[in-house]
Structures are given as C-alpha cells and as structure tokens.
C-alpha cells in the first residue's frame, strides 16, 4: 500500500509540474489517472476478501485513505478533493488528515472540493463545519467548492449557515480565490520581515 501511495504521490507531483499555471487541469488529469489506478486496485482487493476480518478492515481503511490525498499545488495552498461516500468515521479521518497537512505544509488556504460528494447527512454536515473551524484555529482559511445544488440544499435544510462558509462554485474559482487571499498574505509576510530587520 505504501508503495502504491508513493507512486500516486510521485505521479501527482509530475502532473502538477506539467501544469504549473493551471491547477484545475492538473487535477482533472490526476482524477482520470486515478480512475484507472483504482480499477487495478479493486482486482487485488477481491483476492484479499478471502482473508481474515481484521486484515480486510485495515485494507479498506487504507484504500479510503488513498482515495483522498491532499495535493499541494502552490506554496501555502492545499487542495483536498473529497471523492466517494462520506460517512461519519471517514469524515473525521479526513479532518485529521487535513489538519496534519496544514501543519506539515504551512498552508494558509485549503480548498475542499466536494464535487465528488452526492449526499450529506447531519453528521457529515457538522464535520464539514468543524473542519472549517478547526482549520481557522490553525490559521488557515477553508474554501469549499463543488457543492451540487442537492448537497447545498441538504446543508441548508440541516441548518448549516452557508453564509458562514467560504464557498465557490467550482474548483477553478476556488483556486483563484485562494490565490487572491495568498497574494494578500504574501505582502504582509514581506512587511513583517522588513520590520524585523
């Protein structure tokens, strides 16, 4: 699993390097690649199902982890594409992963792309809010992108105040907004360095 993940990361980096100015295209290419990669993985998993329960559970965990890597596209900017069904347990894992990534990459903006999410329940909605707030406590702004009309409606019905969330229609818009925020932040870090001299 480790080798597979390393390979995915390596490929992600190469794809990103090839599209330094167009992160959305990079992401689209990465997604297409992953569809093929996971088909192979599914064949391997079938063989393993014959094994003991604990082993299966652990490997399912690993696959779920793999399906949501964080991508570092620019300095200080993380993209977290959420692919697949979100249950309460996985949502919590995603939060932990994201927050660790914020620390590891000193990220100031995180774009959480929900294009791959078709339904949310109240538990997941709460997790989303909590993730956004936890990111803020670590000094990072979260931008949510790719909310379908259905999911947006569910969130509103569940009592989520969408105006409290930073949302953009699509990933590209989210990245642009992020770069705007980061451009502003860069100038202040510069100013701080001058003052410290």
């Amino acid at each position: 699993m480790g080798a597979f993940h390393a390979m995915l990361s390596g490929i992600a980096q190469r794809i990103t390097a090839r599209f330094p100015d167009n992160s959305a295209v990079a992401l689209a290419h990465y997604r297409s690649f992953k569809k093929v990669a996971f088909f192979d993985l599914a064949i391997i998993v079938d063989g393993v199902v014959a094994d003991r329960e604990q082993t299966i559970r652990r490997q399912q965990e690993a696959i779920r982890e793999l399906s949501t890597p964080t991508l570092q596209v620019r300095e200080r900017l993380l993209i977290l594409p959420i692919i697949g069904l979100l249950d309460s347990h996985r949502a919590k894992q995603l939060t932990d992963t994201l927050l660790q990534a914020i620390r590891a990459h000193c990220a100031k903006v995180v774009v959480v792309d929900m294009t791959g999410v078709s339904t949310v329940d109240s538990k997941v909605a709460n997790h989303l809010i909590q993730t956004v707030e936890a990111a803020r406590l670590m000094g990072a702004t979260a931008i949510i992108t790719g909310l379908s009309a259905d999911v947006a409606q569910s969130l509103v019905t569940l009592g989520v105040d969408l105006s409290r969330l930073n949302t953009m229609g699509d990933l590209q818009g989210g990245i642009e907004k992020a770069e705007q925020l980061l451009g502003y932040a860069e100038r202040n870090t510069e100013r701080a360095r001058h003052l410290a001299d």
């Binding site: 347990h89 919590k92 894992q93 932990d96």
Partner: protein, 134 residues
Amino acid sequence: MMATEARVDIARDIDIVTARQHGRELAGRIGFTGSDPTLIATAISEVARNIIVYSGHGEIRLEMIAGSGREGLLVVASDDGPGIPDVDLAMRDGFSTGNSLGIGLPGARRLMDEFEILSEMGKGTTITMRKWRR
C-alpha cells in the same frame, strides 16, 4: 505486565494535569489513534476541574475495558462533595449560546461516547464516561 488501570487523587489544580496525562498515556496503550487521545485527555480535564470547583476533593479512576469485540477506556470521576442541585441545568449546553461557562460537563459528554452523571445532595457526584476504539 503493564497497568490497565490508574487512580488519581484530585485535590489541587496540578492533579488535573496528572489525571489527563495518565488518560492520554492509557489511551495510547489501548490503541486510540488520531485526535482521540487528546479528546480523552480534554474530557478528563473538564471532569477533574469540575471536582475541584464544586467539591474540592475527589478521585479519577481510569480503566481499560472491552466490549463487543473492541477495546475502550472507562473514566470514573467521583467526589463526596455537596452534590449538584440541578443536574439538568448543569448539563444544559452552553454550546448554542457560546457561553463557555456552561461548556465543562456538556463538553466532556460531547467528546466521549458514553456519559452518565449521578449526583445526590449531601452525598456527592459520580460521572462515568466511556470511549471506544473504532
């Protein structure tokens, strides 16, 4: 054989730190991962402080437990203080009003999987909490 249980006497504020450190350590040994050890330590901190603030003296007992094929941690916070006159009021969530004064016990409940509170006027209070590994 490693200890599967710990008892901490709660009388001074330094004991709050001791109790939560024991909690974190035991949680780690039980196999809790991610943010769970911190959530557990935080819940212990809340109930330990509750003992000091409302009673002055008590005890926190931590125990490794098992049930339905998984392991977990049991936390029992007990004191022989005056008791809580209105448990419902004490457990009313200050969450929605953002009032951190009301956050202690309801907060601990949110961090753990199971939470029971038993209080008798003049006898004391016992809070029992459990968290299970996934």
